[in-house]
């Protein structure tokens, strides 16, 4: 059987690497190499720290930063996105694995890999089915609330490493209670390392860059050097633990990190495990996709480049499958790292591939040096990184703008903190969909009249307008569909019941973008009931697509009145004394 022939353009769409690699130059390579070097330095401590956050051995963080980056470089469309372990997805991984109640480290690693595999498969399937729009169901306020709550959860989960205790909890409350209980067991040396690291890293963020600038460094160099702060913290505290023998005094360290190539790790084939991980994998896929696409779009826009969301699904899906098969865990495009990559001058996805080589070298050569790295230092880098995610201003902004959006944010934050990440984000999505349906289920309907001397019609409550005797003109400010069909019927019939000597009801449809089957049946019913009362029903300014559809039903045939191109035409035809002409079926306004 011959293979289906792919057009060259189609192949380039499916494999963006063909596009940029064919035009790759020595200059581009230099830029990409510099960016990769900086990102590698940043990524080594981050990958170890996020693995710790996910409750996994540190090498899984390194493995998740090698082949997944190569896979994204081949299939992804963003020029600057840095894929790898990120904070929120690591937290969600920890939650998903925690629910399984496993204790055997090998089982936990297998479950994490399987989670990455499922997540990758879901992303690939969404890419093939062009389901990228599903990510739109996460509203901005829900995402903002979720990220903020996740930041708090992550920071709280790391406090145990700063204190050197073993407190564990599934929710914020449990974590804090466990910390309070374990407080007396605090290891003071660990606490010292942790607090010093946090203070140093905050100072690096706030104070180092201005200092370097004052010392005569360029803005970009100062910025990049400031990003190396975590590496300095790692180096100094590791040396301190080694030199002073602090490990023997109770400071928890990373310990042995295996040296060598990433292992080949097939995912579990246990259907029970798949069932348990399916929902978490779906949530991780969608959240990871949204986070990644937002970053990618922001960076692409700065250089007037474009990213293709449905192709991004393929890129991220391939990355996660790669992570699953080579000892990693779920990955996505991270915000901070991508910005560093971009600022450092990355011009093509090759920068990601070069970073992968850097991390590979680290896995082959540097792991013995990480033996004495204190966990408190890693926890400090996480805490400083995630506290920048926490932003309660969304609460104030949404409160000012829309109470319903505020409700969605608040519900997401509170549920995420009190119940957990999976229920939290699901509650936010369900609530925002519900609130949207609720809003549109009671549409704004205005009685309108003619602004004297014009052809414009406006709300009689907001403007001085003329009306015709015996004519009720209503402008419906919403698409008509099942959730508001009954409302409209009741509204019209109640309004009609209030009016004496009514002969015509005119519905203005300039803002009606859809009339679904439920609404169609409602309009038929309204027409029938008005007809029983000897009142004609007219429509005006019906949009083209709506009219096209109405023509396919019996409604226009049964309509007792007419369909007018413009409201002014209706005004003229329904004047007392005017003779309404023949029914103007088939005229659409727009």
């Amino acid at each position: 059987m011959p293979l289906p022939r792919l057009s060259r353009a189609g192949l380039r769409r499916a494999l963006p690497v063909l596009d940029w690699a064919s035009r790759y130059t020595r200059d581009t390579a230099t830029s990409d190499l510099v960016a990769a070097l900086i990102v590698t330095i940043m990524l080594i401590p981050q990958s170890l720290a996020y693995a710790l956050l996910a409750g996994l051995p540190p090498e899984m963080g390194l493995y998740a930063s090698i082949l997944p980056l190569v896979a994204y470089a081949i299939f992804g469309t963003s020029r600057a996105l840095a894929v790898g372990p990120v904070a929120v997805v690591s937290l969600m991984t920890a939650a998903a694995i925690g629910e399984l109640g496993l204790t055997d480290p090998a089982q936990i690693a297998l479950a994490a890999g399987t989670l990455a595999f499922l997540s990758g498969a879901i992303l690939l399937a969404m890419g093939v089915l062009k389901l990228g729009f599903l990510a739109n169901f996460l509203s901005h306020p829900v995402i903002a609330g979720f990220i903020t709550a996740s930041g708090i959860l992550i920071a709280a989960s790391q406090l145990k490493h700063i204190l050197g205790v073993s407190a564990e909890g599934h929710t914020l409350l449990e974590t804090l209670l466990a910390l309070a209980r374990d407080l007396p067991q605090t290891n003071l040396i660990t606490l010292g390392i942790g607090v010093a690291s946090v203070a140093f890293l905050f100072w690096v963020r706030r104070g180092l860059k201005p200092l370097l600038r004052r010392m005569g460094l360029g803005a970009r160099a100062a910025d990049i050097l400031a990003k190396a702060g975590p590496v300095a913290a790692v180096a100094v505290t590791t040396l301190a633990v080694w030199g002073l023998g602090l490990h023997d005094r109770g400071v928890a360290i990373v310990g042995t990190v295996p040296t060598g190539l990433p292992p080949l790790t097939p995912p579990s084939a246990d259907p029970a495990l798949w069932r348990q991980l399916l929902l978490p994998a779906l949530l991780i896929s969608v959240i990871g996709f949204v986070e990644s696409v937002s970053v990618a779009q922001t960076l692409a826009a700065k250089k007037r480049q474009r990213i293709v969301p449905d192709q991004e699904l393929t890129g991220l899906g391939a990355s996660n499958v790669a992570a699953a098969l080579t000892g990693g865990y779920p990955v996505t495009g991270g915000f901070a790292r991508s910005v560093v990559n971009y600022d450092a001058g990355a011009e093509t996805p090759a920068a990601g591939a070069f970073t992968a080589v850097g991390i590979l070298l680290a896995a082959l050569l540097l792991t013995p040096l990480l033996y004495f790295l204190p966990k408190a230092t890693l926890a400090a880098t996480i805490i400083v990184a995630v506290l920048s995610l926490v932003d309660f201003s969304i609460l104030k902004r949404s409160w000012t703008y829309s109470r319903l959006d505020f409700a969605a944010v608040l519900a997401t934050i509170v549920t995420t903190l009190l119940v957990g990440v999976e229920i939290g984000v699901s509650a936010g999505v369900v609530l925002s969909i519900f609130l949207h349906l609720y809003k549109t289920s009671k549409p704004h309907v205005a009685e309108v009249g003619l602004v004297p001397g014009t052809h414009h019609f406006r709300n009689i409550k907001r403007h001085k307008v003329d009306t015709l005797p015996g004519v009720l003109t209503l402008r419906v400010d919403e698409s008509l569909y099942f959730a508001n069909a009954r409302f409209l019927e009741e509204y019209i019939l109640n309004r009609v019941a209030e009016c004496r000597d009514l002969r015509h009801v005119v519905l203005m449809f300039p803002a009606v973008n859809e009339v679904d089957m439920s609404a169609l049946e409602t309009l038929e019913e309204v027409n029938r009931r008005l007809s029983d009362m000897q009142i004609s029903l007219h429509l005006t300014e019906v949009k083209g697509p709506v009219m096209d559809r109405l023509k396919r039903s019996h409604f226009l045939h049964d309509l007792t009145g007419r369909v007018f191109l413009s409201q002014y035409d209706a005004w003229c035809a329904l004047q007392p004394g005017a003779t309404p002409g023949a029914k103007q079926e088939g005229l659409a306004a727009q």
Copy 2:
């Protein structure tokens, strides 16, 4: 503590009985009594049959037809609604109880009563919280599909009584397979009774009324007499079984029905049972409410009366609690019986109370006569009644009108038949909400231009229009919210990328009924990006409520262009050579 003082009008709203009872006359009483007599005759076999369908002892059907009717007469707003056991709710009850896997009849009866109690509590809570609009989330196509599929399921479930076998199944497939397996055990006498009853009842529906009319009877009398067909079938077959001793030849009969007042039956207090029944109770409440309100509205409209949906929740809630406490099971307003009640002249809810007295007398006096009533006859009355619910024309109508509505109907029918009633109706609801979001997530956006010689702007693809150089004018035909915010951003930026020498982008908002927080942030982003490209963003024809909200954000402050009252104003101001005036913040079109 003093009781809150209720205004007289408030009390009448809460207890509609006060309203009609104060004006009750001897004439009204006569009409109501006649209607009640006819409905009672119809209801006796129906209540027994529906209890059989629900898998409950026959007396529970009678008990569900006594106090619930009185409760509705006090709290309900419909003048003609006949409350009691109905086919679809009985089927849903059977499904809910079946899932519990109970075998002890007392346990089953307790579960059915508890289901009615939960359903009543949910309806009452929805009434207090004014959540009647939740019923709107069931679209017409979903309801139509669900009712049709339920009719088929019900008819199939009754075939075993016609054949005299014990075949049971949870889904249509299981039921049919069990019937096929049991076919050799068919009891031929039972089959004879069943087939004869079905044939007789169909003839009564189709042939009796014309015959009676030809014999000189009035239309109404003929109609009412035809409704007594099931009673005749019950009487004749019962006499036949008794006279010919068919019971000894394997014809299943109703057997002993306890004589006496309905028992007092407190619901179960077992939290595990409540948890299991909560979702079924919610579905029964919503489906029952929708069915009941549709009938009540149809009948009220004929006499220009009004029903109050939120008060109907209270009426039906009280009915179900009454059913739960007096040996019944979930009830609602039934279609066929309400129409008979209305046609027979019922003028107030007192007709329902009189019917209750009729059924009470039956429970006290007639039950011994029901001993030899063959189950096959009851099954025949159910089959004939529900086959009128089956209406596949909705498939054809929705296919013609809208493929998405068709998908919702088909999914509801197929899922209900293959998986069951609860999953079926839930799938329909979820799918219609999803399809609605999907539709609105890719809104229609048209580039528009000026129709020469007018002030009207139309789609440049559908009309011959003029455009301005350097100006891109887009009309957005959908409210902007989270599901389409990203789409709009990509659409605008892609369009802008295609145009050379663009200086202004104008967004026409006459059909934008809402801009939520996600869409606001998207508009801010679009404004920022266009600003980077030295392109101004303008808005025109922004609706009043949308403008009110935008004024509460920073968007209008940051907007690079202006907000125009009408698109024509924008046209004039953006002409080459025109000097765009000061930013007109705060001007709303409508």
